[in-house]
Homo-oligomer: 354 residues x 2
Amino acid sequence: MAGRTVRKTRSRARPARTARRVHSPARLLQLGLGFWGPRALLSAVELGVFSALAKGPLDQKQLRARLGLHVRAAHDFLDALVALRVLRRRAGRYHNTSDADAFLDRAKPGYVGGILEMAARRLYPFWGSLTEALRTGAPQNEARAGGDPFAALYADPERLRGFLAAMTGASMGAARAIASKFPWRNYQTFVDVGAAQGCVPVQLALAHRHLRGTGFDLAPVEPIYSEFVRSFGLEARLGFQAGDFFRDPMPQADVLIMGHILHDWNLEQKHLLLQKAYAALPKRGTLIVYDAMIDDARSSNAAGLLMSLNMLIETPGGFDYTPSDCRGWMKATGFRSIRLVPLTAMESMLVATK
Amino acid sequence: MAGRTVRKTRSRARPARTARRVHSPARLLQLGLGFWGPRALLSAVELGVFSALAKGPLDQKQLRARLGLHVRAAHDFLDALVALRVLRRRAGRYHNTSDADAFLDRAKPGYVGGILEMAARRLYPFWGSLTEALRTGAPQNEARAGGDPFAALYADPERLRGFLAAMTGASMGAARAIASKFPWRNYQTFVDVGAAQGCVPVQLALAHRHLRGTGFDLAPVEPIYSEFVRSFGLEARLGFQAGDFFRDPMPQADVLIMGHILHDWNLEQKHLLLQKAYAALPKRGTLIVYDAMIDDARSSNAAGLLMSLNMLIETPGGFDYTPSDCRGWMKATGFRSIRLVPLTAMESMLVATK
């Protein structure tokens, strides 16, 4: 019976293309085992492969010594990074690819590896409990036992530093795009709500010399934010205001920015944050909201939908949303002239006027 | 200083394409967080999404009830599976895509989900210790404490059944390709060395009515193999011989097949297995070796290199290899007329004559 079914699906009556597609499980197996390549990159970032190669190419033996790799593992690992196109190999020596060199060398200001270090240490194992999260609707991270997902993070300076650096990694692409895709010449001041290390303020201030900005975040963030801003020599134009965006009013400015903030919270909290942003803005002030938004049809931007599952794993009530969802919330708050601007392959911003 | 470096790499002197590539960390972040999609598919297989939809489409509410999904998680999870192109959604109801239906419905004989169930349960968490494996060269699975990696597996009937079903999932694509890409009409008998559940014997016997085959594997495999073969009504043409391929001679046949076997073992053991295959074959007999072989340049087939890292995690000495590597070992053993035949997107076979 089972055998007959197999032969039936092999029938010559089907069009060749359908038959070929249906007859190979390759795509499904590649997708299901597709965590191997990402995990290899996460380990490479953890081990500092790209920082080691930033000063020049090294051969396998030199890399083994530098990174503490075992002889059994080094050859396949390094060549896998070549096949994944994050390294190149020429005459037995390994080089960074240009993007790996620009963004994964810890010594460069464009370093985005913080988010990958966090993924290596936290997200990868937490996603191992995805099935549990899908059954229970409950977070699978440090806040698994309940409580504020950020409390544990903010209470420990070392973990907080890692988390804030991770947020810089997650925001760098969007920050650069916001710097170039918004008419900043018409505005003088901005506030980044939930500024973390200050990735967005720094990119805006680097690109637009007339802008003055404020990072708004919880008090423990201040020293880490200030150190980051000073490393770019921008302390004269970028300040910090300590506060809790649920308890305190938001600082006032021409433009308020909320990136990777709304998706952390439930619907009621999302509405509250939009209302507080509206209250803080002057008339004709602008709100920029950016996130890895889900496409309106909820059928093509896998990254946005998976980011929403990441919020399932990381928070008690957070979720990502479509531009239409957010546009509706913004309209209900009183915003007008709302427009969508794509930022990166994964992310978009909604620009709204009070 | 740091800021200046950023501005320097932004120089207009660079060609636009290079500049754009270097200026976006998107590809690196997508690769590093690329485990989310695979993990979502693994959870879908674990939860039985595709088996539930095999009899017809269901809406979100029906699927929640059927699979025990939490209301907070279901919408994003199911739509993520749509965006990953393993489900389709029409008028609010979810359908399997054609390949998911053919290969991920537990009730169908083409089911390959065993390997994904094993990945969900074992490989995903073990790969979480990749960095440790790269530093120590030691396995990160049940055999982490040392010893034979297969001993624990073969001692527990339930785990053995899961592992053997996983091997069917891993071999289905190659098995069907071997059935069509080798001149079986010139041969009467074959032995599948390390036959597991019997995926390859079954596919060969289904496609070629004149063939008689033997599955050769450890004694605990026999009942599972026999049950699988009987489910296809092939017990008259497919037998089983119990044995240990390191201790016992291999059974004799016109064609010996070793798939996903050589990569489990170290170089000395690989040579020994090839010698034992040579000894078991008649003059002009044929050996087929297939695996996810690494490309000879070791720079493009990421799947083969990552499979070799999987052997690092799963075995004390196993590794994958290039066709040139294996050709050299085969020649040293005495084989001749060795030819390479691609089987699937990931795998190839070497066909060698005694």
